[in-house]
């Protein structure tokens, strides 16, 4: 690889070599050389072409669109510039602010319990289970790889008011889980919690594996209980992973769409009460045909997510953002 270049490019260098390579051989080698230079670009080009066409271009188009009013069926010529009016229109729409509150409510009501349960659970699994561990971790992970539609459908039957399994188990008068605004939100939060708990357990387990076992042993020798080991040994060391996992939950929950969208059909009376901002955006575009305002909504939501992610990072402080999260 090193000095073959000289032999190929300059004639003088060929002279001392006994059998001079033929013209054809040299051409082939030269071609090889160039191929090796260009090959990596060719190999990575599919990603960049697809990203340009289906990622970057739509993104830029969406910024452009958010600054226009557009009657879509009339074609691209029917766009006309309105500046920031779409943003203003969205911000003053009471449904938009309601959807923001709903989104935040879901983010807290399903996100906080996820981590409060996943942290100690991961610790218990890590310190107690040996042989059954893979099975348990797998079981906790299955909801994450199950279709959101299948999940929503089975929960709809389980939470059915009159004959559902949940109401059959619970004492007292039946709860109208999916027919009452308050309970519908609780149901959505439960489904989201159920679906992503295992994901967080797996994340925390992967962080616990890196903590050296002798730290616990030392704590045990000092007479620390299991709880104290969790509280004072594991938890401080889990901080970077907590930051990372909470960031993922935050980003995921703020764009919540599928679970409420499938659990509460869009034409039901409760649709407004569980409508997240992502659902509001969808409705604006595909029911009302207002693609301009819908694009503005998507960017407003993006800025909110960016701001809250930043706030979360500040809250955790610099020492929280260790290696794992970078």
């Amino acid at each position: 690889m090193h000095d073959s270049r000289n032999t190929l490019t300059s004639d003088s260098a060929i002279a001392p070599l006994p059998p001079a390579p033929s013209q054809a051989q040299a051409a082939r080698a030269r071609w090889r050389k160039r191929a090796r230079k260009l090959a990596p670009y060719a190999f990575i080009s599919p990603f960049f072409i697809l990203f340009a066409v289906f990622g970057l271009f739509p993104l830029l188009f969406s910024i452009w669109l958010s600054l226009h009013q557009w009657d879509a069926p009339a074609g691209l010529a029917a766009m006309h510039w309105v500046g920031l009016e779409n943003y203003w229109y969205a911000l003053t729409d009471p449904w938009f602010s309601k959807s923001l509150l709903t989104t935040l409510w879901f983010a807290v009501a399903s996100g906080v319990p996820q981590h409060l349960v996943a942290l100690p659970l991961a610790f218990l699994i890590h310190t107690t289970l040996k042989r059954s561990r893979n099975f348990v971790v797998g079981a906790y992970f299955v909801p994450y790889i199950t279709s959101s539609v299948a999940v929503a459908l089975i929960f709809t039957t389980l939470f059915s008011k009159d004959f559902g399994v949940i109401n059959a188990i619970l004492p007292g008068p039946p709860i109208d889980w999916l027919g009452d605004a308050f309970w519908a939100r609780i149901t959505v939060a439960i489904v989201v919690f159920w679906r992503y708990l295992g994901w967080n357990v797996v994340l925390y387990l992967s962080a616990l594996q890196v903590i050296p076992g002798d730290l616990y042993e030392a704590a045990t020798l000092d007479g620390a209980s299991r709880w104290q080991q969790f509280r004072h040994v594991a938890l401080p060391l889990l901080r970077p992973m907590m930051f990372f996992a909470i960031t993922l939950t935050l980003i995921g929950n703020l764009q919540l769409f599928e679970e409420p969208f499938i659990l509460i059909p869009p034409d039901s009376g409760l649709a407004i009460d569980v409508m997240t901002t992502a659902m509001f955006m969808y409705r604006m575009a595909f029911s009302d045909g207002d693609f301009g305002t819908a694009s503005a909504v998507s960017w407003l939501l993006f800025f909110l997510i960016a701001a809250l992610t930043y706030g979360n990072a500040r809250l955790f402080g610099k020492e929280g953002t260790g290696d794992v999260a970078r």
Binding site: M1, R32, A35, R36, P40, Y41, F43, I44, P46, F47, F48, V53, F54, P58, L59, F61, S62, L65, A72, L121, L124, T128, L129, K130, N134, G138, A139, Y140, F141, V142, P143, I145, T146, S147, V149, A150, L153, I154, T156, T157, L158, F163, V165, A168, L197, G198, V202, S206, F244, I251, Q255, I262, P265, A278, M281, A285, F291, S295, S298, F302
Partner: protein, 278 residues
């Protein structure tokens, strides 16, 4: 068994707690499969059925009356298979380039790949629909498998694997022997990527199979629905055939559950590695 495995009271407590969690997480799956074999009237009987009934075939029949279910299943299978095949090839190629080749701009280009994973997907929902409409791809399966044919996560995973598991000497030797770039990739690198391709294939297939928002936006004709969309379309406020719907859900879930049982460890490791490093 080591002494750590002895049954102390606290260990029993922990096992009970963790076990209860497993039961709670598994119960909805159990009920899906039980309800798939029950008539609609029996699903909502009190107390609810806890064991399998005999109505699975009649539920499937009902499903076939209401939906072009085989067609939907075929569509899901086709889209998921195409997505997976394309990703395996294109991500391995790109991962190979990033792991083995030296080229100008490599660092920045790789940072772009990783950075693209940070973009929230909802931002692209509306413009993607408009772009597909522009291309005339609405109601065609390629609208579902082309955009994600070379996923960033896959490129990342393949780069990590090729960089760490494939000896550089082997690649240099192949080049010495006169293998061209593609030949080295196909005959030397690819055969050694088995485990990584397996993990990536499974992740990609599962995501494509479960994808809901993608088809929701670009598939408008009920005959072209994938399974998740088709199942959702069967839900109606008053007259939902729950037995049939559960049978459909069970059929949609089963292949993934079986695949998961055989590969849980690798799959979990692959998914979290991508998230943790990304």
């Amino acid at each position: 068994m080591s002494h750590a495995e002895r049954l102390t009271p606290s260990r029993v407590m922990t096992l009970a707690l963790v076990g209860a969690g497993v039961v709670l997480l598994a119960a909805p799956f159990w009920f899906t499969f039980v309800f798939a074999t029950q008539a609609r009237a029996d699903i909502f009987r009190s107390p609810p059925p806890l064991w399998f009934g005999t109505h699975f075939l009649s539920n499937v029949q009902l499903l076939l009356e209401r939906l072009p279910f085989w067609r939907n299943l075929g569509m899901s299978l086709y889209v998921a298979t195409m997505t997976t095949a394309l990703n395996l090839l294109l991500c391995a190629l790109a991962g190979y380039a990033f792991a083995v080749h030296e080229f100008a701009g490599k660092k920045i280009l790789f940072a772009l790949v990783v950075g693209s994973m940070m973009l929230p997907s909802f931002l692209n929902m509306i413009p993607t629909f408009l772009v597909m409409d522009l291309f005339g791809w609405i109601d065609t399966p390629r609208a579902l498998y082309v955009p994600g044919a070379a996923g960033a996560l896959g490129i990342f995973l393949m780069r990590q694997y090729i960089g760490s598991a494939i000896p550089r000497d082997l690649i240099d030797a192949a080049r010495m022997d006169g293998c061209g770039e593609l030949r080295t990739f196909w005959s030397v690198v690819m055969p050694l990527c088995g485990p990584a391709l397996g993990t990536l294939g499974l992740i990609t297939f599962i995501n494509a199979w479960n994808n809901f928002v993608g088809p929701l936006v670009v598939m408008h004709n009920a005959d072209d629905y994938t399974v998740p969309l088709a199942l959702r379309s069967m839900q109606s406020p008053n007259n939902t055939e729950w037995g049939a719907l559960m049978a459909g859900s069970a059929i949609a879930m089963l292949p993934l559950l079986v695949a998961f049982v055989f590969s849980a460890r690798r799959l979990v490791a692959g998914l979290t590695a991508g998230a943790v490093r990304g």
